[in-house]
């Protein structure tokens, strides 16, 4: 349904940011490829600055990819349609518009309903669908809590009758109990409308809960892609491994928090080899020199020299 083919994206640097002799652009996405099957959720996780939001914007067509393609598949002869939900429900809703007008806008813009009556009915249906009441349509965004606002964003996105929905950190600004409500709502709507979702979050637990397949990003590259279950239960890339170990868990009061040493290197001067090598406990010489390509294994891929070497040698010895 959604096909990302070796997408790269870089932004020009301002003069002040340029180092003498250095490149004039900073590479934010480097050769990203993945497919999202119809009706499934692809989760993107990574730490801040890894490029996941840029990727979402490229996928949504808000940024143009420098090289590579973004392909949207249609569904049963219909044109593909895409909508997006943003992180901050405070800045993504125009404060001077009534909720009704916010939700009606995509319908009017694309002439999805013929008459004013049909539009009104549609907006009311959408409001009820996300757990609000038709009376809420007359209110302004400031009259709602963060969770309710995110419901309005969802209703607005659905008003465009999308088959692909891109959610960029939709619950990061919300409290835990409200987050649960919104995640449940998104899952229910996905099942109801057969939505294809690209779900972006820095929260590994949330991505695991939502996604069928997941891509772990590090410094503008994919570290590993695979079925959610496999990636989280048995990660191939040492970064995924370390990231999972760094999550403070409730169940384990044995204080087993394993911090990841060091910090994400600056995207302005990425390391020459594997971007994770400087922090990687398993790094060998080649990791510092050559950037690993994606190695396939079953229905997953990963970019790690060490894990790839294990893959090659294991069958011979076992």
């Amino acid at each position: 349904m959604l096909n990302i083919e070796s997408v790269s994206k870089s932004f020009p640097l301002q003069r002040a940011q340029r180092k003498s002799g250095g490149p004039g652009r900073v590479e934010v996405l480097r050769d990203i490829s993945f497919k999202v099957e119809a009706g499934t959720t692809f989760g993107l996780v990574g730490e801040s600055g890894c490029g996941k939001s840029t990727l979402a914007r490229v996928a949504a067509g808000l940024y143009r990819a420098e090289s590579g393609h973004v392909r949207l598949g249609g569904c049963a002869g219909k044109k593909p349609r895409l909508q997006m939900i943003f992180q901050d429900p405070y800045s993504s809703l125009n404060p001077r518009w009534r909720v009704y007008d916010l939700i009606a806008e995509p319908i009017l813009f694309d002439k999805l309903r013929k008459t004013a009556d049909q539009t009104r009915t549609r907006v009311q249906t959408l409001l009820e669908l996300v757990g609000l009441t038709p009376a809420d349509g007359a209110k302004y965004p400031h009259e709602f809590s963060g969770g309710q606002r995110q419901r309005i964003s969802i209703a607005r996105a659905l008003a465009g009758e999308p088959n692909v929905l891109i959610c960029d950190e939709p619950t990061s600004a919300l409290d835990v109990s409200v987050q649960a409500q919104i995640l449940n709502l998104l899952k229910r709507l996905q099942a109801e409308f057969g939505l294809t979702m690209l779900f972006i979050s820095h929260d590994l637990a949330v991505v695991r809960h939502m996604a069928d397949r997941v891509g772990v990003m590090y410094l503008g590259r994919m570290a590993e892609i695979g079925p959610s279950e496999q990636v989280f239960a048995d990660p191939r890339h040492p970064y995924t491994h370390r990231l999972l170990a760094a999550i403070p868990r409730i169940g384990k009061i044995d204080r087993g928090l394993v911090p990841l040493e060091g910090e994400v290197p600056s995207i302005h001067s990425p390391p020459p080899g594997c971007s994770f090598a400087p922090r990687c406990p398993d790094a060998i010489e080649i990791c510092h020199l050559v950037c690993p390509c994606l190695t396939p294994e079953g229905n997953r891929v990963f970019a790690c020299h060490v894990a790839a070497a294990k893959l090659v040698t294991a069958p011979e010895w076992s």
């Binding site: 730490e47 801040s48 009820e128 669908l129 996300v130 757990g131 609000l132 809590s145 969770g147 309710q148 419901r151 409290d175 835990v176 109990s177 409200v178 987050q179 649960a180 409500q181 919104i182 995640l183 449940n184 709502l185 899952k187 229910r188 820095h202 929260d203 590994l204 637990a205 949330v206 695991r208 809960h209 279950e229 989280f232 370390r242 990231l243 999972l244 760094a246 999550i247 403070p248 868990r249 409730i250 169940g251 384990k252 009061i253 204080r255 928090l257 394993v258 911090p259 990841l260 040493e261 910090e263 994400v264």
Partner: protein, 338 residues
């Protein structure tokens, strides 16, 4: 270490004096033992940060302490003048805030800020102050601390800045540190580093810590005891393991169950319907009753007191661990109005 109380909060009300007054905190009773890490957890607007601000006397008008007392080592600190309080902050109470950029002065070098703090509070000379500053930067894990002194806050990453803030909070050797969401702005890998650092420094210095966070995972890893805050009240208080494994209050139970657990995937998340009321329209009786599956007439009428033993106390008319039927997740979106 037992029964060595460093901080006692009695019947603390923090209010906005309008008519009728709005109580953002309504009768908080807490004691903090010397050397422990006490976690305060709650959702945004619950009042957990206000408790921290009230202790440090950093409440901003129109919020003020309208009732109750705060004692640090048996001395009232809520009635001190700003001048007296300045001496308490720093030497007795250190603060770590969520956003390291706002707690550091952007136009002064890190060395200046650190040396100044150390010299003011510990009454040390220039050379000695500088030596201490270097020592603290080393302790919080900054590479090449001597070179770092002449740098400005913007030259550091978020994690490094938070290390500097921790050094600032601890350098005057306070007895109590209030850490308000110290890792919320950080990435998970950096968060783990900062939490490890805090734990290490806590072990070395024996400083008492009040850790305010919305993340139960952080508390489970860090805190000795946890206080659950809901709408200006402490609704449950006890040993961390007790709260995590045997929570009695329906709010705590719901909160714990609505957390997305990475290790045990579920099809549908548990959700508490509705949202926390604002202090201005807090319902009568138990503030949680409109959202509570155990609600009875009594919950509607009377405010429950925090009762139980020293290990575990709950403010609920119908405490108890969840039974099988009560926890069935509801997904009717029509009922939900978060």
């Amino acid at each position: 270490m037992m029964n060595d109380t460093i901080l006692t909060i009695k019947n603390l009300h923090v209010s906005i004096s309008v008519d009728p007054p709005i109580h953002a905190l309504e009768g908080i009773d807490l004691t903090v033992q010397r050397g422990e890490i006490l976690g305060l957890i709650g959702e945004s607007g619950a009042g957990k940060s206000l408790i921290g601000s009230a202790i440090a006397n950093l409440l901003v008008s129109p919020l003020q302490i309208s009732q109750g007392s705060i004692e640090l080592d048996s001395q009232r600190i809520d009635t001190l003048t700003e001048r007296q309080m300045e001496r308490v902050r720093g030497t007795r109470i250190g603060m770590i805030f969520q956003d390291p950029m706002t707690s550091l002065n952007p136009v002064l070098t890190v060395g200046h800020q650190l040396t100044e703090t150390i010299r003011t509070h510990l009454k040390l000379g220039r050379v000695e102050g500088r030596a201490r500053a270097v020592e603290w930067l080393k302790r919080v894990g900054l590479p090449a601390p001597e070179d770092m002194l002449s740098r400005y806050p913007h030259e550091f990453s978020g994690g490094m800045r938070q290390r500097i803030v921790i050094a600032l909070a601890l350098c005057a050797e306070p007895d109590l540190v209030i850490a308000d969401e110290p890792t919320t702005a950080l990435d998970v890998s950096v968060q783990a580093q900062i939490l490890s650092l805090l734990r290490e420094l806590h072990r070395e210095t024996g400083v008492t810590v009040i850790l305010i966070t919305h993340d139960m995972g952080v508390l489970a890893q860090m805190a000795d005891r946890v206080a659950v805050i809901y709408s200006g009240h402490v609704v449950e208080l006890g040993r961390t393991s007790e709260i995590v494994e045997h929570s009695q209050h329906p709010y705590t139970i719901g909160l714990m169950r609505s957390i997305v657990d990475i290790d045990t995937p579920v099809a549908t998340l548990f959700q508490i319907e509705g949202s926390m009321p604002r202090p201005s329209d807090r319902p009568s009786g138990c503030a949680f009753h409109p959202r509570c599956p155990r609600m009875t007439q009594r919950c509607h009428n009377d405010v429950p007191a925090l009762e139980g033993n020293t290990l575990h106390r709950t403010a609920c008319w119908h405490p108890g661990q969840t039974s099988g039927t009560e926890g069935t997740p509801k997904i009717e979106a029509k009922d939900a109005a978060c």
